[in-house]
C-alpha cells in the first residue's frame, strides 16, 4: 500500500542515507572536541574543515567566509543582529513576507531603537527592487530579503536588489534557507554580503546551518564564549551534524539541477490535476519564478487545517497556510501581504515536493484531495450559494 506520502519538504526532509553514513564515524571513533590539540581533536577538526570546504566550494567562496550555526533561525539572527550590533543604530530594509526568524529579529531591533522598513510585495509575492531603492536612507545599515519564500515559493529578485545595495555600500543579507541547494545563487554577482543556509531542508541533519559572511563585513557576534568559528560563534561545534551537512551539500551539487527539472514537472502536473478536478481553487506565488517543488493553493470555503487533517488521515503530509494555534487562526501573513482575499487565504494548503516523491505520489494525492475538498465544502455553510 502506498499510504504514506510526504509532501512537506519545505518544512523538513529525510536525511539522505549517504549523509547518515558520513556522520556515523563522528559519533563513534572521531568524537573528539575540535578545539582539542591531540589526535582525537584533530580528527574532529578535519571533519569540520572538510565540510567547510564542501560548502565553500559549492558557494564558490573562501572557506574562511563560511561559519556554522545551529539552524537557519540562528543564522538569520546572527546576520541581522551581528550587523546591527556593529553599527549600534540605523535603518534596516526588509520585506513583509520574510520568515519569522527575520521578522521577529527586526521587531526586537525596533524595540532597541533601530528603524525598520517592511516592504510590501505584489500579488505574486515579489518585492520590487525599485521599492528597495526608494526605501534607502542615509542611515540604512542593512538590507535583508529572502531568496525564496517558504510558503509560496516565490523567488525574490535578489540579483537586482544586491547591486543596488552594493552601489550604496550597504550590506545585503539573503535568507537562502529555502533555496540553498535547490536554486543556484551567485553571491559575487548578486552582491550578497551575508547568506543564511540550512541543512535539514536539503536532506541533511537538523541542528546545523551556516552563514556566509563576505570578508570585510563588519559584525559582532551574538553568542559569547570560547573562540570558535573565528570568533563569530562561540560553542563547541556540532561536528557530526556539520560533517553531514557538508555531505548533503556535496550530494546536492551533483543532483540539484536535474532534480529541479523533475520537481518542477511533478509540481506542475499536480497543479494541473487539481485544477481539472476541483472548482474554486487558485495558485499562490509566482507562476514561474518559484521554488521547483513548491505548490501553494487556496481552496475557497474550506479551512486549511481541515484539509491538512483530512489528508493526514489518508497518509499524505502537507501543511496549512493558516495556522490555527493557541486558539488563534490567522490567515498566512504572506498571503495577506500578497493581497489574497481572506475567504480564499483561510483555505490555503502547501504541498512541497522532494527527492523521494514519484509520479505515483502525485496520483495518490490527486485521488484523495478532490473528494476531501468536496466533502468539506458540503459541510460548510459558506459554500452554500
Amino acid at each position: 500500500m502506498k499510504g504514506r506520502v510526504y509532501l512537506d519538504h519545505n518544512a523538513s526532509t529525510q536525511v539522505h542515507p549517504e549523509v547518515v553514513a558520513a556522520m556515523l564515524p563522528y559519533f563513534g571513533e572521531r568524537f573528539g572536541n575540535p578545539s582539542s590539540v591531540h589526535g582525537f581533536g584533530r580528527e574532529a577538526r578535519e571533519g569540520l574543515e572538510i565540510a567547510r570546504e564542501q560548502i565553500a566550494d559549492f558557494l564558490r567562496v573562501a572557506k574562511e567566509e563560511v561559519i556554522f550555526t545551529s539552524g537557519g533561525t540562528e543564522s538569520d539572527n546572527l546576520a541581522i543582529k551581528g550587523v546591527a550590533g556593529a553599527r549600534g543604530s540605523g535603518h534596516i530594509i526588509t520585506s513583509q513576507i520574510e520568515h519569522h526568524a527575520v521578522l521577529r529579529t527586526c521587531e526586537v531591533l525596533e524595540g532597541q531603537g533601530f528603524a525598520v522598513t517592511y516592504l510590501p510585495v505584489d500579488g505574486d509575492g515579489l518585492v520590487n527592487p525599485d521599492d528597495v531603492r526608494r526605501a534607502i536612507r542615509p542611515d540604512t545599515i542593512l538590507i535583508t530579503i529572502m531568496h525564496a519564500n517558504s510558503e509560496v515559493g516565490t523567488i525574490e529578485p535578489v540579483e537586482a536588489i544586491g547591486p543596488i545595495a552594493r552601489e550604496r555600500g550597504i550590506p545585503f543579507h539573503v535568507d537562502g534557507v529555502q533555496t540553498f541547494g535547490k536554486v543556484p545563487i551567485d553571491l559575487e554577482r548578486f552582491g550578497i554580503a551575508l547568506l543564511s543556509f540550512s541543512s535539514h531542508k536539503i536532506y541533511g541533519p537538523k541542528g546545523v546551518a551556516g552563514l556566509y559572511i563576505r570578508k570585510g563585513t563588519k559584525m559582532v557576534s551574538v553568542q559569547h564564549g570560547g573562540e570558535h568559528e573565528r570568533r563569530r560563534r562561540a560553542g563547541t561545534e556540532n561536528v557530526p551534524g556539520i560533517v553531514g551537512f557538508g555531505k548533503a551539500v556535496e550530494i546536492r551539487a551533483r543532483e540539484m539541477d536535474a532534480e529541479a527539472v523533475r520537481l518542477t514537472a511533478l509540481r506542475n502536473r499536480f497543479w494541473a490535476g487539481v485544477q481539472s478536478r476541483v472548482q474554486e481553487v487558485r495558485l499562490n506565488g509566482h507562476p514561474t519564478r518559484r521554488l521547483p517543488g513548491t505548490l501553494n493553493m487556496c481552496f475557497r470555503h474550506v479551512e486549511s487545517e481541515s484539509i491538512v487533517l483530512g489528508l493526514d488521515l489518508k497518509g499524505v503530509g502537507v501543511s496549512a497556510g493558516s495556522a490555527c494555534t493557541s486558539g488563534n487562526v490567522e490567515p498566512s501573513y504572506v498571503l495577506v501581504a500578497m493581497g489574497v482575499p481572506l475567504d480564499w487565504a483561510m483555505g490555503s494548503v502547501r504541498a512541497t515536493l522532494g527527492r523521494e516523491n514519484t509520479d505515483e505520489d502525485i496520483d495518490y494525492a490527486l485521488e484523495v484531495l478532490p473528494p476531501l475538498v468536496e466533502r468539506l465544502r458540503s459541510l460548510s455553510p459558506a459554500a452554500v450559494p
Binding site: 474550506v302 479551512e303 487533517l309 483530512g310 488563534n328 487562526v329 459541510l379 455553510p381 459558506a382
Partner: protein, 134 residues
C-alpha cells in the same frame, strides 16, 4: 495534534451534516474572528430536540465537535440545551488539545443560540427558562 479516536471518527464520518428546511430553531457562533463558524438547525417536538443538522466551516476539531454536538443535542429537552457547555462538547469528542478548545466553544455557543432561537420564537419567557437550568 494528537486527537482522540472519537474526534477522528466524527471528522471522518460526520453525523447530521447539512441544512434543514424550515427549522424550529437555528443558531450559529463564530470564534474570535478566527473564521471558524458553526451553524445548528433544530427540529423540536414537544419541547424535545428530535432532529439536528449542522453546517461548519473550520478546522478538523471544529467539524468533529459539530458532529458530536449534533448527537449530544438529539433527543434532549431544548430547555436543557440552552445550558450546554464547552465541557460537554469537549467530553463528546473525548477531549481536545488546549489549542483547540475553541472548537468546543463554537459548537456549544451555536447549540445554545439555536436553542434560544427556538424558545424565543415560541415567545416563551425564555429568560426564566434559561435561569431555571443554568
Amino acid at each position: 495534534m494528537n486527537y482522540s479516536e472519537t474526534l477522528i471518527d466524527h471528522f471522518r464520518n460526520p453525523r447530521n451534516a447539512g441544512m434543514m428546511r424550515e427549522p424550529d430553531g437555528v443558531g450559529e457562533d463564530t470564534f474570535d474572528g478566527c473564521g471558524d463558524l458553526a451553524r445548528f438547525y433544530l427540529r423540536v417536538v414537544d419541547g424535545r430536540v428530535v432532529d439536528v443538522r449542522f453546517q461548519t466551516y473550520g478546522c478538523g476539531p471544529t467539524i468533529a465537535a459539530s458532529s458530536a454536538g449534533s448527537e449530544l443535542a438529539t433527543g434532549r429537552p431544548v430547555a436543557d440545551l440552552v445550558a450546554v457547555s464547552e465541557q460537554d462538547v469537549t467530553a463528546a469528542v473525548d477531549g481536545l488539545p488546549d489549542e483547540r478548545l475553541h472548537a468546543a466553544q463554537v459548537v456549544a455557543g451555536a447549540l445554545r443560540a439555536a436553542a434560544r432561537d427556538y424558545l424565543s420564537r415560541r415567545s416563551a419567557p425564555s429568560g426564566s427558562e434559561v435561569r431555571q437550568h443554568a
